[in-house]
């Protein structure tokens, strides 16, 4: 009867939670141990650029991927954040009516749910049309497209939870929409930053966009119009390699990625905590 049902389901629930958390622990352990051990044994891999015959077990580290990741993600996140925050500010009721904001929100939801590979293919098509080869700039464009819906969603939430009294007070003091919006922005800034960090984390781990747009070269990143690669691409390409030294790079890259993600996660938490303190009125 119902008491038995309750007991059974409690056990099943705990088991389910275990199934959820165990992989997390395992993945982090695996990346840290395997990747960490590679880095301990051969720490030069992260500061060396790849040599000739790199993918064939040749010399060199994957500094090109580390730099590539940075050159891709940082500009992409900056552009995406500016755009995303602007759009989410626009979605407030002071600026646009319900119908319009609903349409934009639905489209953003669709874009949020699109697999990243589609953004890669989209930019690729533009490259084909303009007879360009894969380059850094294309990668930045694709990552920007990927990050915009993500950052907008979190920024939107943050801005919507600003109590309407703040806005009403500002207007009744005679402030313009722009000035009021600046205040709203300040109020929701921690939530917005949390969103930016989440977008950043997503962007740095994405391989599909980069492969299609930046090429996956084995050379150091040159200029905006040259090919480059990124850490997740390294993992994808080199995980299954025949050569152990090449495989090791994949593990080390995984370690670095996980480390970055964990740091971002902790920082995001701190910002979200700061944000919620603000709202519950401390």
């Amino acid at each position: 009867m119902k008491y038995l049902e309750e007991k059974i389901f409690k056990i099943v629930m705990v088991f389910s939670l275990f199934l959820t958390l165990a992989p997390l622990v395992l993945i982090i352990l695996v990346s840290v141990i395997k990747g960490g051990s590679v880095l301990l044994k051969t720490p030069e891999t992260i500061i060396q650029s790849p040599g000739p015959r790199y993918l064939l077990g040749g010399e060199g580290g994957f500094l090109h991927a580390i730099l590539g990741s940075m050159y891709l993600v940082v500009p992409a996140t900056i552009i995406a954040s500016l755009f995303a925050v602007t759009v989410s500010l626009f979605l407030q009721s002071d600026y646009c009516n319900k119908k319009f904001s609903n349409i934009i929100r639905i489209l953003l939801d669709i874009l949020w749910g699109t697999p990243s590979i589609i953004f890669g293919v989209f930019i690729l098509i533009i490259l084909i049309f303009t007879h360009q080869r894969g380059c850094l700039m294309a990668g930045i464009a694709a990552l920007t497209l990927l990050e915009i819906p993500i950052i907008t969603r979190y920024a939107d939430e943050a801005i919507q939870s600003v109590p309407k009294e703040i806005r009403e007070n500002a207007y009744s003091m005679g402030l313009t929409k722009y000035e009021t919006t600046k205040i709203v922005c300040k109020y929701s800034i921690s939530g917005i930053i949390a969103g930016i960090l989440i977008g950043l984390g997503r962007g740095i781990g994405d391989a599909a966009t980069v492969i299609f747009t930046t090429g996956a070269g084995s050379t150091m990143p040159g200029g905006l119009l040259q090919s480059a690669t990124a850490l997740p691409v390294v993992i994808f390409q080199q995980a299954n390699s025949f050569y152990p030294s090449v495989r090791n790079h994949a593990y080390a890259a995984a370690f670095i990625l996980i480390l970055i993600i964990l740091v971002l996660n902790v920082t995001t938490r701190l910002f979200q905590k700061k944000f919620s303190k603000y709202i519950t009125g401390e």
């Binding site: 119902k2 626009f90 391989a207």
Partner: protein, 301 residues
């Protein structure tokens, strides 16, 4: 009008226009993506029928024969199996965290779930490759006497389900927490047990949110590219069982990328696959929104 006021109003006007432009760009972006995908797919669509592309299994790119059906089957198989695992596990975990654990535990557990959500798909692929695949391979050989490399539909499904857990869990927890505590009190004071309250009342009250969570998870499982590409075996065949290697639509795009991008019609074929994906995602998302609104209305409290 005093100068200062003029400047303020000017800033106001300009900023409003800029914001409007950005918002319009969002709409344009969506339309542009759709158009470009259609434009580039039109080549292959004009040469071969859509039916042939999606439902034939003959795969001979060099002779311009593209049958994506194996990839379609693979996508369905992997998505369905991963959801079959993910839905019960996620919902039960979410209920445990939201309803059965004390407040401070809920925050800690949610943070762990968030970390899982942030792990890049290539890292999932790597770990699945290194450990899950050999593990599955050994188990199936020992228990079922089936030979498999471990790079198959089953491994891909399990990996996908793990990737989907955090999405469903965090959104379900949110939906459950949004239900006012009075509803729980009413159910409990009528003499229901906690689980009965969850089963009968909370799932219904939080229903629209939970269904959205599941659909979102479904979307992720459906579109996941890298991890699947790393462990599904990349064989363009209709999988005979969950222990066979196969292909999904996204993994097909990635793995055929190098070879197939040189010749226009092959390019076009791959882009057609991307278009199919995009359309399915758009349709699923829109249907999800409609279901959400309808259910929220039907199950109102």
């Amino acid at each position: 009008m005093p100068n200062r006021l003029k400047i303020r109003i000017f800033k106001d006007l300009v900023s409003t226009k800029v914001m409007f432009l950005c918002a319009a760009v969002v709409i344009l972006l969506f339309i542009l993506i759709m158009i470009m995908l259609i434009a580039k797919s039109s080549f292959v669509i004009s040469e071969k029928s859509i039916w042939e592309l999606l439902f034939s299994s003959k795969w001979d790119p060099e002779n311009y024969i593209f049958g994506f059906f194996p990839a379609v089957v693979g996508t369905l198989a992997v998505t369905v199996f991963s959801m079959v695992i993910a839905i019960p596990v996620s919902l039960l975990s979410a209920v445990l965290i939201a309803e059965y654990t004390p407040q401070r535990w809920e925050k800690i557990l949610s943070s762990f779930i968030d970390v899982l959500a942030g792990i890049p798909s290539v890292v999932f692929g790597l770990c699945a490759l290194l450990y899950l695949a050999p593990f599955i391979s050994t188990i199936t050989e020992k228990l079922l006497n089936i030979e498999t490399t471990g790079m198959n539909i089953l491994t891909a499904s399990i990996t996908l389900s793990i990737m989907v857990f955090p999405i469903i869990i965090s959104l379900t927890i949110e939906s459950l927490q949004a239900v006012p505590v009075e509803l729980r009190e009413v159910s409990l004071s009528l003499g229901a047990t906690k689980w009965q309250t969850v089963k009968k009342t909370l799932f219904r009250a939080a229903g629209p949110g939970i269904i959205s969570a599941v659909l979102l998870g479904f979307g992720r499982a459906f579109g996941e590219t890298m991890a699947v590409a790393m462990i599904i075996g990349n064989k363009n065949q209709i999988p005979g069982s969950i222990f066979s290697a196969g292909q999904t639509l996204p993994s097909l795009i990635v793995s055929s990328f190098g070879e197939m991008m040189s010749i226009p019609i092959q390019q076009s074929a791959l882009i057609f696959v991307a278009l199919t994906l995009f359309i399915i995602v758009t349709v699923t998302n829109t249907i999800a929104k409609i279901i959400n609104t309808k259910l929220a209305n039907k199950w109102r409290y």
